[in-house]
């Protein structure tokens, strides 16, 4: 009889490095030890295929006004108590309905729906890593852009390889606190920051977000630490989105983030020198607009993920001519 310890495999995608015994899965629920071999059981089996405005990812400086074919399989290596997509991120693969969609079928589907990009999103593209990378290669060859929406909790080697097939990432820094990552998400901060550095080294276009949860990560200190880190590592022109929290999943005892808190976060970010700071999930005048970093005029106007006016002139401000940080075509 085979020794289950001998047949255990270690998954090395994320810093949890789960030791998985035969028949069991890692913490993400979808990386399974089948007879001593590690298998990604949701490969080619997305549970969500949607067409979204790219602004919903959120990407505000990458192909604005276009749509992204958005894919997700079940599973996540984090267990955030506030997860808004918990029905799929915290589900077992055998409990969820799924489509059958091989990587080679994705480009045609994207073109059919007039999408210029494919986004691996909603749950965590890191845990369905092989599907993300294989699909990205096929889509890149077909002239499509690959986007990931991620928490960035990944080991250095996998993130470096992934960075070579994707074009852009929007990455959610949950808080600048290891205690927050541990208590709310079941993870840690350092690997996320290290992953961002690697993505930047590899030339991935990056936007960052921070979901602001009342009482947990809404202090001035958290905002200031975050903004300083972004400025020093990613640059002052990197877009940063402060997002409003809604009471969901295991965090229904907290209220939605007050508008004043998000405005305070934005003010701190601007005081720290960040040029493109946004407020999401809240109808705030100018909250989603892009301003020229030089003259301060509105260049792109948005309302609820929709571009209502785009004044960009060949990637530059039409009033002062300053080039705007981003990928515009």
């Amino acid at each position: 009889m085979a020794d289950p310890v001998q047949q255990a495999v270690r998954c090395e995608i994320c810093p949890k490095t789960c030791l998985i015994r035969p028949g069991q899965s890692g913490e993400c629920r979808i990386r399974v030890n089948v007879d001593g071999q590690l298998q990604s059981v949701t490969y080619g089996r997305p549970c969500a295929i949607h067409v979204d405005p790219i602004e919903k990812k959120p990407f505000f400086h990458y192909l604005p006004g276009t749509e992204a074919l958005s894919l997700a399989t079940v599973g996540c290596n984090l267990h955030c108590k506030n997860c808004q997509n918990w029905e799929i991120s915290q589900a077992n693969p055998e409990d969820m309905a799924a489509y059958s969609l091989s990587p080679s079928e994705i480009p045609a589907l994207a073109r059919k729906h007039d999408c210029l990009s494919v986004a691996y999103t909603y749950t965590e593209p890191i845990v369905f890593y092989e599907y993300t990378t294989d699909s990205s290669r096929v889509c890149k060859d077909a002239g499509l852009r690959n986007l990931i929406v991620t928490a960035g909790y990944i080991n250095p080697d996998p993130v470096r390889k992934l960075s070579r097939v994707i074009h852009a990432a929007t990455l959610d820094i949950k808080a600048m606190s290891d205690a927050f990552y541990r208590d709310v998400c079941g993870a840690s901060l350092a690997p996320v920051l290290r992953g961002i550095d690697i993505m930047l080294e590899e030339g991935v276009f990056l936007e960052l977000s921070n979901l602001v949860i009342p009482t947990l990560n809404d202090s001035d200190e958290n905002f200031r630490d975050l903004c300083r880190w972004v400025r020093e590592h990613a640059g002052a022109e990197t877009p940063l989105h402060f997002l409003r929290f809604f009471p969901l999943y295991r965090m229904t005892h907290l209220p939605p983030t007050p508008a004043d808190t998000l405005i305070r976060a934005r003010d701190i970010a601007k005081a720290e020198g960040l040029k493109h700071v946004y407020v999401g999930n809240l109808d705030l005048p100018d909250g989603e607009n892009t301003f020229c970093a030089s003259c301060g005029h509105v260049v792109i106007r948005r309302s609820r993920h929709v571009v209502t006016e785009n004044r960009l002139n060949h990637g530059a401000c039409p009033d002062c001519g300053r080039a705007l940080h981003g990928v515009w075509q």
């Binding site: 071999q37 949607h50 067409v51």
Partner: protein
């Protein structure tokens, strides 16, 4: 008298509920279409059911 009081109480509760919906309704609607949410976009039909066995058959070796 009791019936009238009951009716008044019911109407009072109803108006309280309506006021509550007016205040929080926006939040609820907004939450369903929040950034990165998989709700309220254009899903491409309902996914067919696939059992785990079926997934294992077509899955890819990751190790």
């Amino acid at each position: 008298m009791t019936a009238m009081r009951t009716r008044r109480c019911f109407l009072g509760q109803l108006s309280f509920l309506c006021a509550g919906l007016a205040v929080f309704g926006g939040d609820v609607c907004r939450a369903s279409n929040a950034v990165s949410s998989f709700r309220d976009t254009r899903p491409l039909g309902a996914p067919p059911w696939r059992s785990r066995d079926a997934m294992l058959c077509v899955g890819k070796w990751a190790g």
